[in-house]
């Protein structure tokens, strides 16, 4: 296990502090003292389907180490592991891989009091206590700074192939596929990522009426919208939508809907419990 004492000392217990990894997701907060989490892979355990690493480890370093064992981890391929978990956005493979929040089995983080705190446990199946790991994923460093993590891995499929077809009706294609990894749609074309046995992949593509293609389209970066998946069919403008998920990469900016007022109160109560002075990533 990584020695987190120096990281905890750096975070300390007083004064505003922010954290940065590789700066790919917006970087640290300007004008605030900045720390970084430890980096490095502690162990890859393919027969346990886990990897243990410092939160500051680049995602691609972890993916390269896993690939030598024929495994992968469902985390977007930019920046650090800690940054990806703190932001909590899954990538376009979410339909098949499941959300990034399901990847984090155990985390040790540094709390606002400067203490090392453990959440979760090292096994995939674990209901020992409340699920603090899921609360940490997507919390943007406001509840604690991730120090080291244990992540769930998956085998790399023997065959992986993108397909596409022109269509204004993506659900006809979606309904014919068995557990596709990704189904993207821009209003005129559907792109499908299929994985598994080569013959199954070819059979599925034929059933759905899609043709092999080079890869997915470029994803617009104006906004990443999260909408009910049933609303995808009604989208307008320049977009690429994740069918069956409801994540939409849109060219235009977007204001998310106002969250439930009582849920906002709960979030404030949690923040108050975990960081009553608001010193961790202030104003995030």
């Amino acid at each position: 296990m990584t020695d987190l004492a120096p990281f905890a000392d750096a975070v300390g217990s007083d004064g505003a502090v922010t954290i940065t990894g590789l700066g790919t997701r917006g970087g640290p907060i300007a004008g605030v003292r900045c720390v970084s989490a430890p980096s490095g892979i502690d162990s890859v355990q393919p027969d346990e389907m886990i990897v243990c690493c410092g939160a500051g480890t680049p995602v691609n370093e972890v993916k390269a180490a896993l690939a030598t064992h024929g495994q992968r981890v469902a985390i977007p391929s930019t920046g650090t592991i800690g940054g990806a978990l703190a932001v909590g956005h899954s990538d376009f493979r979410r339909l098949g891989d499941g959300p990034i929040r399901d990847v984090l089995l155990q985390a040790r983080y540094v709390s606002a009091a400067g203490e090392v705190v453990k959440a979760g446990g090292p096994t995939v199946k674990n209901v020992s206590g409340f699920d603090l790991c899921r609360l940490l994923v997507g919390s943007r460093g406001t509840l604690g700074f991730l120090g080291d993590v244990i992540l769930r891995t998956r085998p790399i499929a023997p065959h992986s192939q993108w397909f596409s077809a022109p269509t204004t009706e993506p659900y006809a294609c979606f309904a014919r596929l068995y557990r596709p990894i990704s189904v993207l749609w821009d209003g005129a074309t559907v792109w499908v990522l299929l994985e598994g046995h080569k013959t199954d992949v070819a059979d599925q593509a034929a059933t759905a009426g899609v043709q092999p293609c080079a890869g997915p389209p470029a994803l617009p970066t104006g906004s990443r919208r999260v909408i009910p998946p049933a609303d995808v069919a009604r989208l307008t403008g320049s977009f690429v939508a994740e069918v069956g998920v409801g994540v939409v990469h849109h060219a235009d900016a977007w204001t998310p809907p106002t969250p439930d007022a009582r849920a906002v109160e709960l979030e404030r109560a949690l923040k108050n419990e975990f960081d009553s002075t608001g010193r961790l990533n202030p104003a995030v």
């Binding site: 446990g121 199946k125 209901v127 206590g129 409340f130 603090l132 046995h197 599925q204 049933a230 009582r262």
Partner: protein, 472 residues
């Protein structure tokens, strides 16, 4: 306090709040060996009624315990201190199904298997499949973050819950998530799943539905030693396969099951593995061939592949009948639930046999080997003087051996009362304080299912409740 609360609720609930000795006795425990005491039992039929009950309980400062089917094995739904038991089984409607995007809104009292049956005509099912799936409720699955044999490939309940409508302990209503995949803000729904009724009561739940596999192959391999079986499990995973299920039974269990269901199981084997592979046909056949080769390389004596759906159902019946079958050996059992790293399975199983032998107890092992999720089943006759003490002592040693091997306290049954005081085996004071902070944020009054999961002083209270039958 409770009398005034009952009088107030009776105005609206009438016959649906009960204080008779039969009801209070029935609802004083769940399926664990731990008894408590219920002050009143109510059966709300709507979110508004649940809100009314909790608002009143809050005003009267009476603790409450949400209860589904009561199949929990850790005392999570056992009421303490004459709490109000809020039974959710009458809220049991499937509210809507979206077969295109594969999700459904359900009330918490819907039974797990009923949901899968109701969406079967869409080619869909609800993936978590606890052994109690015929009788356990979705609300209970959410509270316990329940698992099951097929969670090896498809994940536990938390992976299948999109959103919830929840009544908090002050009676207020909150939406946690919805059909949206990743709503802005903290993942409150993720935090709520597995909170064992201590964060509030879910009154509507949005579940993800899973496509039924076009091809399924089920096989039984038998081994001359438990080690050979366990090493086969690790080798299958290390080879890059994640079967739909990977279950193990040891010899005593196989013998009990065979005497019960007559499925022509190999009763002379030290261990059998039940392996199910599901997916598209070519991938399934390729995996079956590789799994058989791995089994043979690890000393499998025979491989039986189910030839049709009837034989497949029979093999699964063998696995799922274990708890009925043991009644032929002894009248009582205590089922344990710990998880260890897969590579530690042989060592921890050896320890389980050593511990139970030392305490002069019989043990059957039937468990989710693919997840490293052990279920040692101690069988005994509680009329034997001193046997309960030996059962509890052996249980504690098994939990400790699992945690010492790098495992966890519970894989799917939860902590409840049963393992509350074992939490410090896994978590230090700062770790427990963080979990206590989650609880305080959701339930500052500490009225939702108090004194479970968190040992004092991390719990919101200073009384150390130790009901009869709990492990101490």
């Amino acid at each position: 306090m409770i009398a005034a609360l009952v009088d107030e609720l009776r105005v609206t609930l009438a016959e649906r709040i009960r204080t008779g000795s039969t009801e209070l006795g029935l609802y004083a425990r769940d399926a664990s060996n731990i008894g408590g005491s219920a002050g009143a039992v109510c059966f709300p039929i709507s979110t508004e009624e649940v809100q009314m009950c909790l608002r009143a309980a809050h005003r009267h400062k009476v603790p409450f315990v949400a209860r589904g089917a009561g199949t929990g094995l850790a005392g999570g739904a056992t009421p303490l201190d004459d709490a109000l038991v809020v039974v959710m089984t009458t809220m049991n409607r499937v509210l809507s199904v979206d077969p295109i995007n594969r999700l459904a809104w359900v009330e918490p009292g819907v039974l797990n298997l009923d949901l899968s049956r109701q969406v079967a005509h869409h080619g869909l099912h609800f993936a978590p499949d606890p052994s109690s799936q015929q009788s356990c409720s979705i609300g209970g699955n959410v509270a316990n973050n329940s698992g099951g044999p097929h969670c090896l490939s498809d994940g536990v309940t938390a992976s299948h819950i999109l959103g919830m409508e929840v009544v908090l302990s002050d009676g207020s209503l909150v939406q946690l998530g919805g059909t949206e995949a990743e709503p802005f803000g903290l993942d409150l729904r993720g935090a709520f799943v597995g909170s064992e009724g201590m964060f509030g009561i879910a009154t509507k739940i949005c579940v993800r539905l899973t496509q039924n596999a076009p091809a399924v192959r089920t096989m039984l391999m038998d081994f001359a030693s438990v080690e050979d079986g366990a090493q086969t499990v690790s080798a299958i995973i290390a080879a890059g396969m994640v079967p739909a299920a990977l279950e193990m039974m040891d010899q005593l269990c196989v013998q009990a099951v065979e005497a019960y269901i007559h499925a022509d199981l190999p009763v002379d084997a030290a261990a059998v593995l039940l392996v199910e592979v599901a997916g598209l046909p070519h991938g399934v056949e390729a995996d079956v061939a590789r799994i058989i080769a791995i089994g043979n390389a690890h000393g499998a004596r025979s491989v039986r592949i189910a030839q049709d759906e009837a034989e497949r159902a029979l093999l699964w019946k063998g696995r799922k009948s274990a708890f009925g079958a043991i009644a032929r050996i002894k009248p009582n059992y205590y089922l344990h639930d710990t998880v260890v790293p897969r590579r530690m399975l042989p060592q921890v199983l050896r320890q389980v046999y050593e511990i139970t032998e030392r305490h002069q107890l019989q043990v059957l092992n039937v468990f989710h080997a693919g997840d490293g999720n052990l279920h040692p089943l101690l069988v005994f006759d509680k009329r034997e003087p001193g046997v309960m003490e030996r059962v509890l002592a052996a249980g504690e040693e098994i939990v400790r051996a699992s945690v010492d091997a790098g495992g966890v306290l519970s894989g799917e049954h939860g902590i409840g009362l049963e393992k509350r005081d074992f939490m410090p085996m896994m978590f230090g004071p700062a770790d427990l304080a963080a979990q206590g902070a989650m609880r305080r944020a959701f339930d500052p009054a500490g009225l939702a299912n108090p004194f479970k999961v968190l040992p004092s002083p991390a719990a919101c209270g200073d009384v150390q409740h130790v009901p009869e039958g709990a492990w101490v």
